[in-house]
């Protein structure tokens, strides 16, 4: 995922249209309502497959937890020990994905 190349100030109509389709698809497949699906997307860094798997099984396929508000606040802390704690909890790839997601 090359989030750095994505526009950050505005959402294109096609991007929003795709987001609507994706959210409708996950709602249909999971049987969950809009609020639940939207929040699950937010806590799974916008990853559709991870979100759907999480909603269907109650856990992520990679075994890591979903992000909490406290985790997101800690992500804003650039202290190395705090960052290492998040990496231990979520894995390096998920932390990098989360940083990109929060910046998008």
């Amino acid at each position: 995922l090359q989030m750095e190349e994505q526009p950050t100030s505005t959402s294109s109509s096609s991007m929003v249209g795709d987001a609507v389709k994706t959210m409708r698809y996950v709602m249909e497949k999971s049987g969950m309502d809009l609020l639940t699906v939207t929040q699950a997307f937010l806590k799974n860094s916008g990853d559709a497959e991870a979100t759907l798997h999480f909603l269907q099984t109650g856990r992520r396929r990679d075994g890591y937890p979903v992000w909490s508000r406290e985790d997101d606040l800690e992500l804003q802390n650039y202290d190395e020990s705090v960052r290492n704690k998040l990496i231990a909890k979520f894995g390096t790839e998920n932390v990098e994905k989360r940083i990109a997601f929060r910046k998008s």
């Binding site: 995922l1 989030m3 994505q6 950050t8 505005t10 959402s11 096609s14 991007m15 929003v16 795709d18 987001a19 609507v20 389709k21 994706t22 959210m23 409708r24 698809y25 996950v26 497949k29 969950m32 309502d33 809009l34 609020l35 639940t36 939207t38 929040q39 699950a40 997307f41 937010l42 806590k43 860094s45 916008g46 990853d47 559709a48 497959e49 759907l52 109650g58 979903v66 909490s68 508000r69 997601f101 929060r102 998008s104």
Partner: protein, 56 residues
């Protein structure tokens, strides 16, 4: 990995960005203050529906 919608016109990307997700939420939501509701969802921890208190 990607989620493949049954429709041939499915999403091109399997990742929703917060900005795109917020706009999509506004379109799909019937709430009059969908922006605030989206922010609340973002700022609160996830819980499955049976654990969520209903909005007054």
């Amino acid at each position: 990995p990607s989620v493949t919608p049954e429709s041939a016109n499915g999403p091109k990307d399997d990742t929703l960005e917060p900005s795109g997700g917020a706009e999509a939420f506004k379109i799909l939501s019937d709430s009059r203050d969908s922006g605030a509701l989206f922010t609340k969802l973002d700022e609160t921890d996830f819980s499955f529906p049976n654990e969520v208190a209903e909005q007054p």
